[in-house]
């Protein structure tokens, strides 16, 4: 990979370990990120968010306890993350959840199941400066 990573750190909040592994592998392989930080629950994300900054957050809606929607609302209400690009991943069938996510402030959504290519493309679209880098 010649191009430097687009994003320094991406937060992935998802309760399935296999999904996290998949997302990590896809992002790292495409070289779009320097560091992938994983959170296996909304709570874990809450622990990380106040102190850390991320170039992008990928959030699964349907998680137990603190679900993705609550996390998004929390992030948009906080100083640190009100502008962090947010990609919501949700099950294909739950349109309602997806719409809620967008209305609460997420920037884009990706329906499961998705390919690694689709994920990387969605990430590139969300990060400012992506187009120019590509063209170069």
């Amino acid at each position: 990979m010649e191009e430097p990573p687009l994003i320094a750190r991406i937060l992935v909040v998802e309760d399935s370990s296999a999904m996290r592994a998949y997302v990590r592998a896809a992002l790292e392989e495409a070289g779009v990120v320097r560091e992938v930080v994983e959170a296996s629950s909304g709570f874990e994300a809450l622990r990380l968010l106040p102190r850390e900054s991320f170039g992008l957050a990928i959030v699964d809606i349907n998680m137990p306890d603190v679900n993705g929607l609550e996390l998004i609302r929390f992030m948009r209400g906080s100083d640190a993350h009100k502008s962090t690009p947010l990609l919501v991943i949700s099950s294909e069938a739950s349109e309602r959840d997806r719409e809620r996510g967008l209305s609460l402030g997420a920037n884009a959504y990706l329906a499961k199941p998705f390919t690694a290519e689709a994920l990387v493309e969605a990430v590139r679209e969300l990060v400012p400066g992506a187009e120019e880098d590509q063209a170069g």
Binding site: A21, E29, L46, G77, D97, K112
Partner: protein, 712 residues
Amino acid sequence: MTGGGDEGDSVRDEFVAEAQEIIEALSRDLLLLDHGQKEGNPDPDLVNSVFRGVHTLKGIAGMFGFADLGEVAHVLEDLLDQLRLGRVELTQEVLDVLFEGVEVLQRLLSAGPEAPEADLDGFRGAVQAVLDLGEEAPSDFGAYDLDTGVLSVLTEYEEHRLRTNIDQGVPLYRLRVRFGLTSIDSDLEELKARAKPIAEIITYLPSMEGGDDDSIDLEVLLASRVDVAELRDALCTASDAELEPVGSRGAGASGHTMTPPPPDEPTTSHPPASPPAAPKRAEERTGAPPAPPRDVGADSLSVRSVAKTVRVDIGKLDHLMNVVGELAIIRSGVGRVLDRVRGNPEFRALATELHRIHRGFERHLDDLQDGILDVRMVPLGQTFDRLARAVRQVSREHGKDVRLQVSGADTEVDKLIVEELTDPLLHIIRNAIDHGIETSSDREAAGKPATGTLALNAYQKGNHVVIEVEDDGSGMDAERILASAVERGAITVEAGEEMQRPEKLGLIFLPGVSTAEAITDLSGRGVGMDVVKTHIARLGGVVDVHSELGIGTKFTITLPITLAIISALVVRVAGRTYCIPLTVVQEALVLDPASVRRVEGHEVITLRGATLPICRLDGLFGLQQPAGASPKEYVVVTSLGQRRLGLVVQGLEGQQDIIIKPLGKTLSDVKGFAGATDLGDQRVVLVLDAPSLLEEVLAGPEVRAAGLGATS
């Protein structure tokens, strides 16, 4: 993914491991749900758990090449969705479909990715059949003083739980707590534990105001029938925690609610019993409060699965075991050097110090070994859950009413053994339900309770684990078994006449022997009890059977606890060295040639009043004694299950920890050896396979007839 093979594989492995865990959790939850449904109060949390598990599976299966699995999960998810939204009632039929679904999921997962397309039509049909009875009328939230902010962040499921509670008139509360960021996990677990018996937590809302860098404020929405003061006592343990009821508004919908429009028109028919239905506000109903703590024996297992566990690749454990094995050999080597140093008076001081060091090494090594072995151990409960599912399924298939009793589910066994145990146990259970336990009417006619009992019992006994499968069915007819064996030519009529009852029952382990009128091919594989026996023998164990006509049958499986490092007795036979696993060794004594007698052509001695058959290993193995061999001989008394055999050897060299390594396929036709081991000093030594030796030597009908080999 275009990733390199390795990376793709390890991500896929991650999926398989996660999927397996999910399926096991589904199985446990369904069993509990089944139990709850029979008692009349199924726990909605369980339905949610099952839904969640299936939903996760659906989401990830397709991405890792398990398209069929994803589809089945999708189908199940639809059903579960209807269940949790109260549109379909949880009946035994629905549970049947769910159980079948889990079986299908397991099969598909085991078949691997890109397996040939499975025929799922039958299953889909079954699901559709139960789905075709669905209806509901949702309530609205206007009656409650919940702000739009809260409602907007509820997922569909959480909304449903909220709705259900409202319909059932369960009061809502808001609990504000503060958790320190570093202790958030344990604080959460604690809160959940305290809340579980008295309330249902609907959701957690992280609050934006309040909190600081080190802590976070949360608003917890919950429903509970318990009195406010008691709730406060239980949940507001921190000084800054606050609990408030969510007040209800006056009648009439307000514009604040954000509920989606009701999907269906409320129907006029009234659904039977439990599911929350009619659109009423806060009306008292005898709905189901959160179920009391579960007590179905799988309890300790459910808690454990939530606790701190690490997934370990068994290959890594094997590697560690090998390293420990090498260390054990080194330790023996150090011991030998120590002995030599000791023998020299010049090195007295050195010897003492070396001895001290050696002792320390030994202690820690034992600890390490125990620790690693412990990691390999898994509770049998896992297997028992799987069997419980099968019991349910087979009972229904054959129209038998069977109750399963389990004890000792937390008895631990090496993971590799556990995996091999499922099949033989399944087979025994299927036979017990199909042939053993009678139909309810037959049972009542015989004066037995209509419900048959199948008991699964496991416990540790010394270095072994004993698993019992007992039924209170019709028992086995020894004469019919004998007749069947003779008919199939497995034994001669004469040999049969000389048999005692236990030996006759033991004939079921010969291939092809069966007492059923028609050989019902339950597993579709045409396997008989002989396969069960071979399977268990492979694990180094034995299986015994006891039965009384009209009363019941009990199978007893005795297994070594672990296959990995074992203690062995090193012996010499005709100048060669062999190892005998200590797990089967009862004792060793000097053989007094005068005490050997012959009974029915076999050599025996008397040990504490009982007859013990003996076997000269040099004769059995065809080994010549080296010239000048000492005439002194020893008898190593081995015992397994109910039988004993004395092995005659020419030397006892002591005890050693060894790792048994398998012999290659080329030697698979050689009888009597469990494998070989490296004793250090470059000595490769064969390890005797006690069960197969016992079998071989004690198998002759003459031996049986004389009642030899039975434990005193």
